[in-house]
């Protein structure tokens, strides 16, 4: 245990002095992580009642989930909406972030602030607002409607990721290409995009996750055959505790973890 008496920094503090901090931080990190992953062992329980640790193991809740046309239909809908949101929000947000970053215009900052308003307006307000407006134009309970709403929620994230990556990128390279006769469009696709491609990929994954995990707008705007996984899950949580939810949650945790680790892995590759 020699390391304990070694200085923890080049001031007078030793690791022993900081032991309390290490213990407190470990407990907090466990408290953060355990409730996120506890659904995994729970989902393999044999019992009707949610017990932990499970007394008998089984995959019956997965059978239940994969055998249910309601849950399967909802899963497909959520995946569809997530992918479509990703495909719309990524180019939309990237184009806007690029334009505002390149333009030295006075208004650029104001427009940027305007475009990230979906992060400021309370989601419940966006949910009932779109529910009301979509009702007037017949977009409620449609895939298109929810993709539009989710795109607006995901676009600010895309813009923030792309703007951050453009900050570390030397735009003069694009100017060189243009001075050699390339059009702006060509310069962007040939010079800039390849160098920020990992950030674009990160932005795309995050916009998929934003849509896939979104609950509140989905509760209002989606429905019928196009109800999302989260809408059904929320209804199930409010009314009764069905262990099938544990199986679905496990799948959702795995999806987020894999995508997050992917973004961490590719995050710093644009250099």
């Amino acid at each position: 245990m020699g390391w304990l008496t070694k200085p923890a920094s080049d001031t007078q503090v030793t690791h022993r002095d900081r032991l309390w901090l290490y213990i407190v931080a470990t407990i907090i990190m466990l408290l953060l992580v355990i409730p996120t992953f506890i659904v995994i062992p729970m989902s393999f329980s044999d019992s009707q009642y949610l017990e932990f640790p499970p007394s008998n193991w089984s995959v019956r809740w997965y059978d239940e989930y994969f055998g249910s046309s309601k849950w399967m239909r909802a899963t497909v809908t959520s995946l569809q909406i997530g992918v479509l949101t990703m495909l719309v929000a990524t180019p939309l947000g990237t184009a806007a972030a690029y334009a505002l970053f390149v333009s030295g215009h006075r208004a650029a900052r104001a427009v940027f602030m305007f475009l990230i308003t979906p992060m400021i307006v309370p989601v419940i307000l966006i949910a009932i607002g779109t529910f009301y407006a979509f009702g007037r134009v017949g977009l409620n309970n449609t895939i298109t409607g929810l993709v539009l709403a989710h795109t607006v929620l995901a676009a600010p994230l895309v813009m923030i990721v792309i703007t951050a990556s453009l900050r570390t990128y030397d735009l003069n390279q694009e100017l060189v290409a243009r001075s050699l006769g390339a059009s702006r469009l060509k310069a962007f696709f040939a010079i800039t995009l390849p160098q920020i491609k990992f950030s674009v990929l990160t932005a795309a994954l995050l916009s998929f996750l934003t849509s896939f995990d979104e609950v509140i707008v989905a509760i209002f705007v989606s429905g019928g055959v196009n109800a999302t996984l989260t809408k059904h899950m929320f209804a199930a949580l409010r009314d009764y505790i069905d262990p099938t939810i544990a199986a679905i949650s496990t799948i959702m945790v795995l999806v987020s973890s894999v995508l997050l680790l992917a973004t961490q892995f590719i995050g710093n590759r644009d250099k």
Binding site: R18, L50, I124, L125, A133, M159, I241
Partner: protein, 297 residues
């Protein structure tokens, strides 16, 4: 723009048109995003704003806002919303500060790995985490079992479908929103500052409170305000873990729409929520700028 050359003497007009054309192209690139926000945020929210001023007779009226002042039930909703938001923020500060401090002390490499403990929950569906707490906190849940096992209490305690459960769940979901900006501001603190303090004879504890803590305040204030504002409009976790007993503004809005289909009343509540959010964010911007001026960042 870096490509602007000295226009004196050269074909000024031509360059100006080119500049204008350039800005127009860029505007065109940003236009789809602007249009989407107008269509999905501005128009619907503006519509709700309008509806909140339409009375039951179809004319302009302030009745929905008057009701908020007159009825006790509204006062209760506002009070609970404020209470939950404030308590969640305080819990997040108490738990988040040591965690951010720990992460900021680690070498960058290790901090990145331990940061996953914050980021993984952050990117996991809040529905999943709310569900996990529902199970952990129930009477026969793991937390009760554990507390009885170590002798904290003797019979199972009701931890969910009430305020306690709501606060636990909310704090868990909000914590990353505090830790991330706080960690960011802590990372920016120059190590040399602490060395200088030590050199001048300050004990580590003294140096922490006199130098480190004040420098980390801007991140803490920013994070706390984000948490507070997000709590104000929160829906899912209080609805599930509160079990109908913790009625916050968002829960009330949904209830009004589900039970009475009263768009005016629901919109008015939404407008109040939005205005409260905007005021807090405005004050935050002022406060943080003041803070930046104070510390010269």
């Amino acid at each position: 723009m870096e490509n602007r050359v000295d226009t004196a003497g050269i074909n000024e007009h031509e360059l100006k048109t080119q500049e204008a054309r350039e800005q127009l192209t860029l505007l065109g690139l940003a236009a789809p995003a602007v249009l989407a926000i107008v269509a999905i945020i501005v128009i619907p929210v503006g519509w709700l704003f309008y509806l909140s001023f339409v009375g039951s007779d179809g004319n302009f009226s302030l009745e929905h806002y008057q009701k908020m002042v007159q009825y006790k039930s509204y006062a209760r909703v506002f009070l609970i919303t404020f209470q939950v938001s404030l308590l969640t923020t305080v819990i997040c500060i108490l738990i988040g500060y040591p965690l951010a401090y720990f992460l900021a002390l680690l070498p960058q490499r290790w901090a990145g790995i331990f940061m996953l403990a914050v980021l993984l929950p952050f990117w996991t569906s809040l529905l999943v985490r709310t569900y996990a707490w529902l199970v952990l906190l129930q009477k026969k849940g793991m937390l009760n079992d554990f507390a009885i096992y170590i002798g904290l209490w003797e019979t199972p305690v009701k931890l969910v479908h009430n305020m306690t459960g709501t606060l636990i769940g909310m704090a868990h979901i909000m914590l990353p929103f505090l830790v991330l900006p706080l960690y960011g501001s802590m990372r920016k603190i120059e190590r040399d500052m602490m060395h200088a303090a030590a050199n001048l004879g300050a004990s580590p504890v003294h140096a922490f409170w006199k130098v480190y803590f004040p420098l980390s305040l801007s991140g803490m204030v920013a994070g706390s305000l984000i948490v507070f504002v997000l709590c104000l409009g929160f829906y899912v976790t209080p609805a599930v873990l509160g079990g109908g007993r913790v009625v916050m503004v968002a829960t009330q809005i949904t209830a009004i729409l589900e039970n009475q289909f009263d768009w005016g009343a629901a919109s008015a509540l939404g407008v109040v929520l939005l205005i409260a959010t905007l005021i807090i964010l405005y004050l935050a911007a002022r406060l943080l700028k003041f803070d930046a001026a104070l510390f010269g960042k």
